[in-house]
Structure formats: C-alpha cells, structure tokens
C-alpha cells in the first residue's frame, strides 16, 4: 500500500510565543518540532507498513524552507520518501488541504492517509476532514485505535466521557491521530544517516492550485491574552485552610 502521512512543523510545546506585527509570531529563538499529534500519525503509518509487506510510507509537509527539517525527522523515524510543498504563504485550512490533496492524488494507488488531529500552532482541527473532502474519501478523526487489512480500516475514536465510536471505512481513507493511539518511536542513528541520503521532492505551491488569495478564513489579528492576576495562598492548618477555601469559593468566587 502507498501510505501517506501529512505533517506540520510547529514551535516546540515549551516555547513562549510572542506576536510580531499583529499577524505573525516572532520566530527568533523558537525551536521547531514535528507537531506532536503528527508523530502519532507517523508511527501508525510505519506500523501499517510493517503489517502490509511491500508498502511504502511517504511524508508530505507544507511550509517554508525550514520545514524540511521536520521531513528529515520523519525520514529518520523510518519514512521512505518525502515531499515538500515549499511555501511561506498564510494558507487557511482549506487551501492547505488542497495543496496536500494535490500531492496525494497524483498517486492513483494512495491508501491510508494519516495526519494528527490538529497542529498545535493554528489548532484549526479541520485540515484532515477537508483533505478527505478534497480526495473524496471517508475519514475518521481523534482516532485512538486503528486496524487495517489493506481493504478496510477499522478505527475507534474518543467521543467524550470515555465513550468511543467504532468506525469502518474502505481504503483509501484519511485517519487523524489522537494521543493514546501509539507510542512514537525515536529515530535511530542508522535512521538519521539513512534519512540524509534521501532526496526530498519539491513541489511548488503554484502547481497545487492552492492560493492564499482564495482563503475562506482570513486572519485579522493575533494578540496575547490578558494574564490572570496572581492568586492567594490560603495558609493555616489544613482543616482551617480547607474551610476558608470553601468559604471563598462560595462567597467570593461564587462557583460552589
């Protein structure tokens, strides 16, 4: 099976994010990583390749030049090929999905397409389902369990309160990973060496049909949220402190 995994390069989870000129972030001193949910997607793609002999995993990434490093990371984890749609344009989720769909559709034998359930920068949480729409294939998101015999995918997704939906869909299909699906592997030294030799195929954005000018969702402004004022520590013996806490929660904060 020709398995695909779409990834995004995002600022590290620990990074503090500052606004620059109202519409973008200050990238100085930002460490870039593969979005954590995409790592679960990569791991599941590699596991599926191991299960279905003769399969191949291709990673696809849309982003500026630095996004190549994210693709190198995924190649080092074990992906066979990588495609970089190089663009620094501010594309909305739909245009992103169009660009990814263009790359995947060019391969008539594409099978399961994995992504993370959201990228932890824009948190838009919709590229996966828009991509499925562009490709005209079924899709499941927030997936915690995945099985596939090559023809049918059977997944479980979390729907809140501990409940799960069991979904069946024919391949090709799109699967968006949640935490808990698997434990992503680390890149081995051999993997890192091997990854260096793989050529990343470049696709110009213009070729994909995606166009910032056609965005359906337009960013107007980025801002930092107001910081909460520092709270109060209630001192005293535990029993007294607890009594005082409950009193304040009722009388001051009015949440009980």
């Amino acid at each position: 099976m020709n398995i695909y995994v779409c990834i995004k390069q995002v600022p590290d989870t620990e990074a503090s994010i500052m606004v620059k000129d109202g519409k973008s972030i200050n990238e100085a001193n930002v460490k870039w990583i593969v979005s954590p949910y995409d790592e679960y997607a990569v791991e599941e793609a590699l596991k599926l390749r191991e299960k279905l002999p003769g399969s191949k995993v291709t990673a696809v990434c849309l982003g500026p030049e630095r996004a190549q490093n994210a693709l190198r990371t995924v190649l080092a984890m074990g992906a066979d090929a990588a495609v970089h749609v190089e663009s620094a344009a501010a594309l909305d989720s739909w245009n992103t999905a169009r660009a990814l769909a263009h790359v995947i559709r060019a391969d008539p034998g594409f099978g399961v397409v994995f992504l993370g359930r959201q990228a932890i920068d824009g948190d838009a949480s919709q590229v996966h389902l828009l991509l499925a729409g562009e490709l005209g294939v079924p899709a499941a998101t927030n997936v915690l369990a995945f099985a596939c015999d090559g023809k049918t995918a059977r997944v479980e997704r979390e729907v809140g309160g501990g409940a799960r939906e069991k979904i069946e869909m024919a391949v090709p299909c799109v699967v968006a990973a949640a935490k808990g699906l698997n434990t992503p592997r680390y890149a081995s030294m051999m993997g890192i060496m091997k990854a260096k030799k793989i050529e990343i195929r470049k696709v110009p954005l213009a070729e994909t049909g995606a166009d910032e000018g056609q965005n359906r969702v337009r960013l107007l402004k980025l801002s930092s949220p107001a910081e909460k004022p520092q709270g109060q520590v209630i001192s005293g013996e535990p029993a007294d402190a607890v009594r005082e806490l409950v009193r304040r929660l009722r009388e001051e904060a009015k949440v009980l």
Binding site: S16, I120, S125, P138, G161, Q232, V242, L249
Partner: protein, 314 residues
C-alpha cells in the same frame, strides 16, 4: 441582521447546556435565528427555544449520528434556508461534523471560538494552545463556527414560540460508517464540557490513588482529569489528560492536585473561571497561576476538602 442557524446537539435526548450558550449568543443583536435539531419530536424542547424564529425538526428514518448523513442534511438545509452563519458546539461531535460540513458546503470554518460576531462573520479563538488569541473573518458562503463550551453566559430563553418545520433526514451512503458506540464502563463526565474538574498530577504516585480525587469529584459532581506527567506515568488514562496534547477544558472551577503547573498543562486549563491549586511544594509554578492555593499534601487536604464540601453542599 443576519440569518443564523444553530445546530442543536442532543445527548441521548437531553438538551445540552452548550445549546443554551449558543442560543444566548444568537439571540443577541436581533438576528433571525433558525435552530436545527435531529429528533422525532421537537415539542419537548420548545420552551428552551423561545425567541427562535424557526425550528427545523429533522426526522424520518434512522436518526443515530452518522457523520456523512448529518453533514449532507445540514448542507442541504444551509442552501434551502439561505443561512449566512451556522453555529455549533465545539464538542466531540461538533469537531467531527463541522469540518465535514465545511468540506461539503464549500464553507469557511473556525473551530473552538471564545467569541463570535455573527453579523460581521468574525470570531476569536485560542491558537498556539491558548498562548495567543487569533481573530478570524470568514469569507463568502455560510460562515461556520464551533464555540467552546462554558464560555458564553447563558441568558434565560425569552420571546415568542418558534414555528416548527419538518425536514427529511438524509438516508444516503455512509462511507464513514459508525458501526457501534461503546459506552464507558462507568459513566464519566466529559471533561471538555464539565463545569467542575478535579485533576491529579505526578504527586498522585499511583493509579489507585486517583480514588481520592474520584471521591472529591463525586461530592462536587465533577469530572476527573490528569496532567501529562500522570498519564505518561500510567496513573491515568490518556483521555483524561488536560493540556497541550490532551484536552482543553474550560470549567468554572478547576482543582489541580499535586500538579506542578508546567506550561503544557496550564495552556489546557487556563481559561477556567477559578483555579485552585493543592501542592506540597510552595515553589510550584501552579501557585502563580491559581486563584487560590493551599500548600499541603494532597492526600491530607483533598479528603478534608471532600468532607467540607459534603457538609456545606449537604
């Protein structure tokens, strides 16, 4: 004035609080509001829907949630009723349904909104896990927004009774087919919609110790969450994780027990109305972010808190 649709989500027939929030938002500004609900009979809910112009009752056939059928039905209703905006809750179902609808209707969508201006088609949502806020505007077609639960203050339903119109449920193909819904062994409160959450961190030390938090949660009618440290250590299930790679929650009261307060965790619960921290370490960063703190061993403080709450709430 805009023509605004609301997708009303029922939970096994129960009218969810998030619906009241969406209705309160839509009723502001004198818009023409149209509520869409998938149910055999809308009558029991009409008191909640006062002030809404039209209730579209989608019925006939199998009404169980199948994403393809729900999305096609809604896409057809958007076109038929020329809705300019459709609001839904950013619930597990909303997050599944609205992007599918966006794809099908060729519409722009903003998920997880904290504020929506329907007439201007603008919304504010957290980005970078809540480290920043972004304001978006949706171009052309019907603007789709899912709203984070527990953000919009609920106003009592007021106004004239709505007109109920019937619409047919789509019965076409289901390429993405839900074959079964597995309920949790014990009914748990959905953290993303919970009003009170009690959460445990690394200091819980063992899975069994979460019973201490369960007891307090039961006294409060709260959900139980966990930090990434507690999940990664195997003390709690991954669907309990609050934080950057877990759930974003927004309760009125969040009680963090034995949680140090790493940014990873904080971004998942920072919009809680009131944060309480219980931690042995007076230097724990969580105390800088909490509204109220108690420095002490959670295994001493939490049971005392449970007793006090039981006493006070009777």
């Amino acid at each position: 004035m805009a023509k605004i649709g609301i997708y009303i989500e029922l939970d096994k027939g129960t009218f969810k609080k998030s619906n009241r929030e969406l209705l309160s938002l839509a009723r502001q500004g004198g818009h023409e509001v149209c509520a869409v609900m998938f149910c055999a009979d809308a009558a029991p809910y009409l008191d909640e829907l006062k002030g809404v112009r039209t209730v579209i009752q989608v019925s006939g056939g199998d009404l169980s949630y199948q994403p393809d059928r729900y999305a096609r039905t809604l896409a057809a209703l958007i076109a038929e009723h020329r809705l300019e905006v459709l609001l839904g809750s950013c619930s597990a179902q909303g997050k599944d349904l609205f992007p599918r609808l966006a794809a099908m209707a060729g519409a722009g969508l903003v998920n997880d909104c904290l504020a929506v201006d329907p007439a201007a088609r603008k919304a504010v949502k957290p980005v970078y896990s809540g480290k920043l806020l972004a304001e978006y505007q949706v171009e052309g077609g019907c603007a789709l927004f899912t709203v984070r639960p527990n953000v919009i203050p609920v106003q009592p339903a007021a106004g004239a009774a709505p007109e109920v119109r019937a619409a047919a449920m789509d019965s076409g193909d289901t390429p993405t087919r839900i074959v079964e819904v597995i309920q949790a062994a014990a009914q748990r409160i959905d953290l993303t919609e919970a009003e009170i959450i009690v959460s445990g961190g690394r200091a819980m030390k063992a899975k069994e110790n979460f019973a201490v938090l369960e007891d307090l949660a039961q006294a409060l009618g709260a959900g139980v969450g966990a930090s990434r440290a507690a999940v990664d250590a195997g003390f709690a299930a991954s669907d309990m994780q609050v934080g950057q790679t877990g759930k974003v929650v927004n309760p009125k009261l969040y009680i963090a027990c034995g949680i140090s307060g790493a940014i990873q965790h904080f971004v998942g619960m920072k919009t809680s109305k009131v944060i309480v921290a219980i931690n042995k370490d007076p230097e724990a960063p969580i105390f800088k972010k909490a509204d109220y703190g108690i420095v002490g061993d959670l295994f001493t403080v939490v049971p005392l808190l449970k007793e006090e709450i039981k006493k006070v709430l009777g």
